[in-house]
Symmetry: C3
Subunit: 305 residues, 3 copies
């Protein structure tokens, strides 16, 4: 449970056009916590996910005074009698998310922790936030980007604005493409490329994003890549791609916009994942995936609905 007193009038002012309607008396009503279902109390900001059954009953039974819900919930006499305040929005989960970000998450003021080791050739925007133990080479870090503890960012990495790199990530490590000689010896191909990450990208904890061989590895605006993922050399990831964790894209994989790749997937090198496609968790993708399709399994095949 996250506790902090916030006056409802401030929330109402902040939400503006997100609000479809407000029922009940806002007056001096305040909430002092955001909590899971089990711990809701009279001062919680309660909310009802649109996907739930019996939303009206949930609202009427809620222990909280302030309730965020969609249009399916109406301000009945039962709610009025309890002096509840009902905030109606299109998407309660999304609006809750906005409220939490605005009122319950501490905003980081730009800062570089003195223990971070930063190359003299790095270009770090004055609004960026760099936590303890980071090691940053000749890289570029954009506005309001937040690099968490013990992250390593190597030379030739460009990270855009409003990004988050979670703790322990390594951005710009060498790929490891090899030639095997006739005597078995492995000769590594040297990697001269970099990594270019767009704006509003998040990279999870302990990820590895490899640099390109002769050109760059690219992650476009709005991608969200959860922890322990491995994005290999020369991958090219379009906008708003969501990867939910522990997935590997081998070298030169091309992923188009708005793709969703669930957890623990491996995609073979040089494969192409078309726009809006979905890859199920644990899939082993050996072929190109056409736009809009869903593929699952080992080896992955199209999922027929």
């Amino acid at each position: 449970m996250k506790k902090k007193t916030v006056y409802l009038r401030d929330i109402v002012d902040y939400l503006e056009s997100d609000l479809v309607a407000v029922y009940g008396e806002v007056g001096n009503v305040y909430v002092d916590n955001i909590s899971d279902e089990v711990n809701i109390n009279s001062k919680s900001l309660d909310w009802i996910n649109s996907t739930k059954q019996s939303k009206q009953r949930i609202a009427e039974d809620s222990r909280a005074v302030v309730i965020l819900a969609d249009r399916d919930v109406v301000y009945t006499n039962a709610l009025r009698a309890q002096k509840k305040v009902l905030l109606i929005v299109e998407n309660p989960r999304k609006v809750l998310s906005k409220i939490i970000s605005a009122f319950y998450i501490e905003n980081k003021v730009s800062f570089i922790h003195p223990s971070a080791i930063i190359d003299a050739g790095a270009k770090i925007d004055s609004t960026a936030y760099i936590e303890a133990g980071c090691v940053i080479g000749k890289a570029v870090i954009g506005k309001y980007t937040y690099i968490k503890a013990n992250v390593v960012i190597e030379d030739d990495v460009i990270i855009g604005d409003h990004c988050v790199i979670q703790a322990g990530g390594v951005i710009g490590t060498d790929g490891l493409g090899c030639n095997r000689e006739s005597d078995g010896m492995l000769v590594k191909f040297p990697h001269l490329g970099g990594v270019v990450i767009g704006n509003y990208v998040e990279i999870g904890a302990n990820c590895q994003i490899a640099r390109g061989a002769l050109s760059d590895t690219i992650i476009s605006d709005g991608c969200k890549i959860n922890g322990l993922c491995f994005i290999a050399h020369n991958c090219h990831i379009g906008k708003n791609v969501w990867i939910t964790g522990d997935t590997m894209l081998a070298g030169s994989v091309h992923v188009e916009d708005n793709v969703t790749i669930f957890s623990k997937v491996i995609v073979r090198e040089q494969r192409h994942i078309g726009k809006n496609a979905t890859i199920g968790m644990g899939a082993v993708v050996t072929k190109d995936v056409p736009a809009g399709e869903t593929w699952v399994g080992n080896p992955a095949r199209k999922l027929e609905k």
Copy 2:
């Protein structure tokens, strides 16, 4: 081979009720190493795993003077003639483990390495041991807990007593649940929960344990989670759960007591793994697993014996 001279009488005193019987002369006999089979010498503490065939013969052929074995081995004339000392216990592997821990593993004296960066709001027990390069937020660390090098522990994490967090782990990172807008944009749900870890828990190297969304992620007493695992937001793991490495539990997975999950498993979000169940390595678990069953494969199915 780990070398250190230890008098057998000290081992005998330490084991107490673990000893079923001692044959031969303890006197001033000592051992000076613990070694694998190939390198056993006269001064090794040799041991015979209960699962082996021909245990009597192994004892009689051993190059070591001191032998740890179960009741199946008897003190024959052959052993007496060689002046061997035979320690009989119920479970030699377990007792060897106790001997190593007591006599061959260096005990850490409580210590915080000066390079560790610790938030002023952290509460660290005076008996804890924190290695170099750790970054610790507003967290609680219990008695005799050992945090190895370059671990990151974020705010709102509570770790109990006698735990070990292996190097490079990240505890309390954000989950990355998203809503996808109609235009494809991903909006991250902010995470306000924490992580609560019980007593006698071990977390392997480079793991990621994510904080909960509105309530906490919970790992109960006695769990052993090997390296490169990813425990996502709001998982609830019961007591004595063993995860052998590189496994991911997606969001809100519930695992009951005494479950064993082998390596490189993925469990889908909100699934439930019943008490004493076993999940085979590489399994892709998309359904609830009933108590006591063994599931394997992609997608995972019950293994019929």
Copy 3:
């Protein structure tokens, strides 16, 4: 694109016996960049992979003056008229790799970053290079070995010459073999072994290499192990084994020389992978794999050609 002016005569001198033939005037010709296909310009060192179709046409259409190719490309009038210089070698990709390493990759001069925390008992060769944030125990590091940022190397680890440990790796962490007691409690077997890594080995970012139980975990000369791999206790890996990323070898796996294991593979404990075998990506290997065979799938089976 990596830019640096290099005179062609210096490259020709360096390559010596790798050169089959040189056509055109070397004179004062120079190149000033290595680039991917899209960005080739007149000053690039262009190269034509032996696996390509229409190599002659590619050479004749290249925007670059200097072209590296195999014997299939001949010095036609078309090339002569353009005053191109053609370097003929057996394996252009391999020779390009040599040129990049010699002329375009900065050589690290031996150095230990002052932020690295190194145990007084460590033995580090004076030619080694240790980046910022590393934590090194009582370990041995060989000649010209390069340890990148935030790596943790624990006690009892020996790393040979000319190795690279990419950022964030943990070498020598405890394995986590357990006994489950009758009441469900897990008792960890203590690990007394170390890790021995040969020469010319590369270990990728955020890998975990576990120490052995009673003897050592061994990685032999010339192995290349990409990022996020987990090599468990007592694995014994032969020479020139290539693991392309995010793969786990469970305890006591034995891999013979020249094996190739693709990404996101799990190999069951105590299994044996024979010489020159290949394991396909995403394979779940539960049985021994004979020499020279290719296995794929979950569970993995021999791939019939």
